[in-house]
């Protein structure tokens, strides 16, 4: 195997690293800002190293938002519920679209894709009306139930299942008398773990950052998720920037952990499923 010439390799690493620095910078930045006093946060040119007000900002945060950890838990709970339910319903739907032939399959599939093109912005008023009817105001389920079976998720997993699951395996299982659900649960699910990891992180991130929906259906501070709670510190005459910064940095931590934990899987999942074979 011929090795590439050294200058070429160096250039490649330099390029790749440069892009990596640019993309990771905002995270570094968040944590820097979280440790600075409010007056330092908006300084230009900015300080690029940690400040000394981390503890102070934490006290400001807890004083302004005594429910912070409760809100963090709400966010975690909603994100986990959203992720689990989405993974279940989307893999089920994706499995059906990938592995079965049934009447109206193509029409039903096209309908599902079309729903992705509908701009969601205006849905906020009818969404609120429905949640009021159901009495789901201030309830976490208002945030994850409506999107449990997302068109994007079914689409993604359909592509993945089509590529990763051999049909012969399913036929063999049927001959052995497995029920259809059992085939899905015992054979398909274990095979598509990487695909699930991908959809999982997308769902988790989406739920974690969901703001507008959470704003209208959550009304009391105890029920708030983090984005709403943190933004509730923004006033007209006063804004507690130190607290907001630290709160935002802390709110990123769980998602960072999930991501670092799952990123190898995600990339592998894309790798195996992205061929988009029929």
């Amino acid at each position: 195997m011929r090795r590439r010439p050294l200058p070429g390799r160096l250039l490649m690493y330099l390029l790749l690293s440069l892009v990596a620095v640019v993309t990771v910078f905002p995270f570094y930045w968040m944590f820097i800002l979280a440790t600075q006093a409010p007056a330092e946060i908006f300084r230009t040119p900015p300080h690029l190293w940690f400040g000394r007000s981390g503890a102070e900002n934490y006290h400001a945060l807890i004083r302004a938002l005594p429910t912070f950890w409760r809100n963090m838990w709400n966010s975690i709970y909603v994100a986990i519920m959203a992720t689990l339910t989405t993974l279940f319903f989307c893999s089920l739907g994706g499995y059906a679209f990938a592995m079965y032939d049934f009447k109206y399959k193509n029409q039903l599939f096209a309908l599902m894709i079309a729903t992705m093109m509908i701009p969601p912005l205006l849905g906020i008023v009818p969404y609120y009306i429905m949640m009021s009817w159901l009495g789901w105001i201030d309830k976490p389920r208002a945030l994850y139930v409506p999107s449990m079976a997302s068109a994007f998720g079914i689409f993604l997993l359909r592509q993945y299942i089509a590529a990763a699951v051999p049909r012969e395996l399913l036929d063999a299982a049927r001959i052995d008398g497995c029920s259809e659900f059992r085939i899905y649960w015992n054979i398909v699910l274990p095979l598509i773990r990487p695909g699930l990891a991908t959809l999982g992180i997308v769902t988790f991130v989406g739920s974690w950052n969901n703001f507008l929906g959470a704003l209208v259906v959550l009304r009391s501070r105890e029920a708030y998720t983090l984005p709403v709670a943190l933004r509730s510190l923004q006033g007209l005459y006063t804004t507690d920037w130190g607290a907001i910064m630290l709160g935002t940095a802390l709110s990123i931590l769980p998602i960072l952990v999930v991501f670092l934990f799952a990123s190898r899987r995600i990339i592998a999942a894309f790798a195996a499923g992205a061929g988009l074979k029929q």
Binding site: I129, L215, R231, T239
Partner: protein
């Protein structure tokens, strides 16, 4: 003994039950810092009305109004009482939704003389309903840097008219470090000056609801902004950006024309280290106008209008409570009697010991008001756009304003 205790407990429970029946809980939707005000005065309120419980729903300043609009649109889950800021009150002026407080049993017109006249008028709609009670107001003022003025040999007394302002501005706009580039300016943004001059978020329509954006007031505002821009006196820095904060910190803009509340932001987090370097003055040319203000409203769909009204009345018409609110947020009270308090004569350390509140007290009495129109917000956008065309593309003022008027009229009624 046991029996007696049992009877006692039963009686107590009965009493509690009877008492509990009359107790109502009202939800009050506000944005910070109004939650601190309400929490601060709540003990006094509950001493008066022990049967009213108050539950606060606090959301961020922008988010609060979005949520209020959504609940009003759905007609469900509305708060019993809510705060509305001046930039947002226009959208709530449309038909229905909010209680008309001029009607019985509220008969709030009786309180008219308590309030500063313009805030009272802005609480009305074009069709004559009274939809809100003024809580705080915000006179516009001119902040100026004492150190920069001194260094450039300029006195604040030289500024009487807008022409003076521009003339003095030429001396305040300069290149401090000698690198051939201007680095100090008269003011942050000519567009902000124009907006203050035409009257901020309101006054685009007259009493009858006719669009008046081609009136002399708007022409004048545009002319001043254009003169400032053409002389290169503004830094062209949009408000609420890092650049803006930095300009105040470094003193690279010599004046700021804005609501008096800007001082609170400067003092608390934008530029605390500049304490004592600032002064406040009336706007040039005998102009008096407002930039901000808060009202309280009661939604039509509320189940506890009476209890909510009690709290609204308590917060807005009681001078002692207004004074407490002023101490908590430093927002200017809308009740005129409060201004007689000695606290208004105290020197303000951040402004170099100037008793600036007397200045603002005088300013608010000169402000004229007009009723609030549901199309104020869209008119604001269209007029701002016309201003951009004038400042950035050199479009003639009369032409830009005539076009703006046409665009506004086209949109009303949809």
């Amino acid at each position: 003994m046991r029996k007696a205790l049992f009877v006692g407990v039963c009686l107590a429970a009965l009493a509690l039950a009877a008492w509990g029946e009359e107790k109502v809980t009202i939800t009050v939707a506000v944005y910070p810092d109004l939650d601190s005000v309400i929490e601060g005065v709540l003990p006094a309120f509950q001493a008066l009305y022990p049967d009213i419980e108050v539950e606060l729903e606090v959301a961020g300043y922008v988010d609060h109004h979005t949520r209020l609009l959504t609940t009003l649109a759905a007609g469900m889950g509305v708060p019993d009482m809510a705060a509305v800021e001046i930039g947002y009150i226009a959208r709530f002026a449309a038909e229905g939704g909010l209680v008309d407080l001029s009607q019985p049993p509220y008969n709030a017109e009786a309180y008219a003389s308590l309030f500063v006249p313009y805030a009272w008028q802005q609480a009305h709609t074009v069709d004559g309903r009274l939809i809100a009670m003024p809580a705080d107001i915000a006179p516009a003022t001119m902040f100026w840097r004492r150190d920069v003025f001194a260094e450039r040999g300029v006195s604040i007394d030289e500024i009487k008219t807008w022409e003076d302002y521009i003339e003095v501005g030429r001396r305040l706009t300069y290149d401090a470090d000698g690198d051939g580039q201007i680095d100090h300016w008269l003011v942050d943004d000519a567009a902000t000056v124009a907006m203050i001059l035409w009257g901020g978020h309101t006054r685009f329509f007259d009493q009858e609801g006719n669009c008046i954006v081609d009136s002399p007031r708007f022409v004048r505002a545009f002319e001043v902004a254009k003169a400032i821009r053409e002389a290169g006196l503004d830094a062209r820095i949009p408000a609420w950006t890092n650049e803006w904060y930095e300009a105040f910190r470094r003193g690279t803009v010599a004046t700021a024309i804005n609501g008096a509340w800007l001082m609170g932001h400067l003092q608390n987090w934008i530029a605390p280290e500049t304490a004592g370097l600032w002064g406040a003055a009336q706007l040039p040319g005998g102009i008096y106008t407002q930039r901000g203000g808060t009202w309280y409203v009661i939604p039509q769909a509320s189940d506890n209008k009476d209890a909510a009204w009690k709290l609204v009345k308590f917060l807005t018409t009681n001078p002692d409570i207004q004074l407490r609110a002023f101490e908590i947020t430093n927002a200017f009270p809308a009740v005129q009697a409060v201004w007689e308090d000695p606290i208004f004569e105290e020197p303000v350390p951040f402004l170099g010991g100037q008793p600036a509140r007397l200045l603002w007290k005088e300013a608010v009495q000169h402000i004229v008001g007009v009723p609030t129109n549901p199309n104020d917000a869209i008119a604001m956008e269209i007029v701002s756009d016309a201003l951009t065309q004038v400042l950035e593309e050199g479009r003639p003022i009369a032409e830009a304003l005539a076009e703006a008027k046409r665009l506004i009229e086209r949109r009303t009624g949809l």
